[in-house]
């Protein structure tokens, strides 16, 4: 079996960032939206480049989705700031959707010579989810075309290491 590792540092920083985003949003698991937000915390990283948006734009769009969802059930309220910290030790588990995105990233990496999972593979893995998916909804809420962003991420994963 081919080795499919994210370089240790890159993996740790993406997972740490995704975990922090999930906690910030009061989630108990890391979902695709958190993975995408985590990938966007790297300034000038692959995710920011292919989406043309930064982490602040993504967090605002995420908050707008929350506000809109609350309005849809007749509640007018705005969430302000991060969730109060809960004592949940260790790394949060992945949702089913996040696991699938990760599996897709690994498959993409296997098509490369190195077999190493990069941020580009992860970005492509997240962007290739099928609706309904929180990450896809977030990308759309930022006014970005998902198919175009996915193309760019895939090209980037094949073109660079």
């Amino acid at each position: 079996m081919m080795r499919t590792r994210l370089s240790a540092d890159a993996r740790a920083s993406v997972m740490r960032a995704a975990d922090a985003e999930a906690r910030r949003r009061g989630r108990r698991r890391i979902g695709t939206e958190d993975l995408l937000l985590g990938l966007l915390t790297e300034p000038g990283g692959v995710a920011s480049t292919v989406l043309g948006r930064d982490i602040e734009a993504a967090r605002s769009a995420s908050a707008r989705l929350d506000t809109r969802a609350l309005e849809a059930v007749g509640i007018r309220a705005e969430l302000s700031g991060p969730a109060p910290s809960r004592r949940m030790r260790g790394r949060l588990a992945f949702t089913a959707g996040a696991r699938s995105a990760f599996v897709r990233a690994v498959r993409l990496a296997q098509q490369d010579h190195t077999g190493r999972v990069t941020a580009a593979h992860l970005t492509a893995g997240v962007l290739s989810a099928r609706a309904p998916d929180d990450a896809i909804a977030l990308v759309e809420a930022m006014g970005v075309d998902v198919a175009t962003a996915l193309e760019r991420a895939t090209a980037s994963s094949l073109g660079t290491q």
């Binding site: 009061g26 989705l65 506000t67 969802a69 849809a72 059930v73 007749g74 910290s85």
Partner: protein
Amino acid sequence: METTDIASAIDGDEPREALRAVAALRLLADQLEHRAVLSAREAGWSWAQIGDALGVSRQAIHKRFGKEIG
């Protein structure tokens, strides 16, 4: 303040919106609870009084906020 029949608000809407609203409400409730407990402690409420008001045990509320709020 206007009131909304939540059941009718959900009917016919995409379930995705309703599900996201549930998650957002949990976050909203957590934030509100955090502020309410903080302000109650500042006003001199005991952990037992706060627990009673929230319908949970004194221990449960102290365990969650005791370390941070004191």
